[in-house]
């Protein structure tokens, strides 16, 4: 057994763009909107900075969930960044789903700088969703047929 069920705390990595979602996370803090401690944020300048490799790496290292947050499409600080993110992540998510590995453990959400409360809500929902799924082991085992 890796961990006891009752002590199981999912590990969740949130990639947040500096201009919208990271500011949204700050907003959640300012408004004292609670979200679980197991969500850890990594700041990136724009959601388009997030390489699918980072997400795979997080999963491989034992993350139970990965969420990528950026500005709403059309509101990207860099004008077009999140449009590319959207296409890239559509392909990635679809592929994860196709491989039967982490399709339901990866999410993309758009959270603006003004949406502090929504940031907390999105994180709470995602954390509850991941907690319900339980520990992620598949990606670590993908290439080792027993």
């Amino acid at each position: 057994m890796l961990e006891q069920n009752n002590t199981y705390q999912p590990k969740i990595v949130a990639f947040c763009c500096n201009w919208c979602s990271y500011a949204g996370a700050d907003g959640a803090g300012t408004a004292r909107k609670h979200y679980p401690a197991n969500i850890k944020i990594i700041k990136v300048p724009c959601s388009c900075r997030v390489n699918p490799l980072f997400i795979l790496r997080a999963f491989a290292r034992g993350a139970d969930g990965v969420i990528l947050c950026g500005c709403h499409p059309g509101d990207c600080h860099y004008t077009t960044g999140n449009y590319f993110t959207r296409r890239r992540m559509t392909l990635l998510l679809s592929m994860l789903d196709y491989l039967g590995v982490a399709g339901d453990r990866f999410r993309v959400e758009w959270v603006s700088a003004a949406e502090g409360a929504r940031f907390a809500e999105v994180m709470n929902n995602f954390a509850a969703h991941i907690a319900a799924l339980g520990k992620n082991v598949k990606l670590r085992d993908l290439r080792c047929a027993k």
Binding site: N51, P52, L53, F54, L56, R57, A60, P73, G74, T80, Y83, F84, R86, R87, R88, M89, T90, L91, L92, L93, S94, M95, D97, Y98, L99, G100, V101, G103, R107, V108, K138, L139, R140, D141, L142, R143, C144, A145
Partner: protein, 328 residues
Amino acid sequence: MRKIEKLMREKAAELLADGAVDRVLAWRRGEFFYDNAPAFFADAKECEQIVYDEFCPANLCKYLLQTSSKGLKAAVFLKPCDTYGVNQLLKDNRIKRELVHAVGTPCSGMLDIKKIKTAGAKGIIKVEAAGDEVIVTTALGEIKLPKAELLLDKCRMCKGNEYKIADEELGEKLPTPVFVGDKFAAVKAIEAMPPEEKFAFWQQELSKCIRCNACRDICPACTCEQCIFDHPESPVAGKAYADPVEEQFFHIIRAYHVAGRCVGCGECARVCPQGVKLGLLNMKFMKDINTFFGPYQAGADAVTPAPQVDYKQNDYEVSIAVAGKRGK
């Protein structure tokens, strides 16, 4: 095909003799009659060694990297499906158009020796295609087999006899195998599986891989100066790190990297010594790109930007795109 072989030899010799090109890229007889190999020809006199028959599946376009980087002008014989690869190399700025002399070479489908052997032919001496049939000469005599069943997998999904790039064409275009049915049928079958089944399937497929890199080396879209898997600074640590991440994700990342650039030539699956169904990964991305971003065929020309470097303001949202296809 013999006729075409003669035309090829003449054309190659002519181009080399004139000094119109520095090299000719063609096929040469291998150890067995069915393993014709790619070869460079620099001398008009050698051109008699050029062979062309139903066992020349290799796409020669990637060898243009070598000539182009050295500033050598090369003539290359391209079957219709091979022309997509050339366009992709041009689009990726990997070869110089002025250093390529593309010669369209008719093809009516390449044969799979494994399938011929499986069909019951033993002690094969010679194989010749004649219309819809294949005449197999064995030590025990001649047998006739239906050609359609002996084609290479990639030829069963033939894209047609159009050359997407050609400076000249040899002879008349040949009728190509007609593929009937859904080329994404196998992808759809996996998509329809429950997650556990998908996982089991891929776990089994990917575990076969021995990391020989044949798929990467043959791929006309895999043309990086330095592959990230060989590069110690890259996000997937290099071999020295012996990180399991690299092992697990090699094929996923490779497929992701060539998505939108993969021309669907099927060479990766053909050369895989372990028979990993690599096409299913590439075809999945192709299908998704077509579904989510609109019809796109990499290599159809050398200018249209790949879907991942393009966008529409009203593209599907990530969750909607994927969930919608899941049928939720």
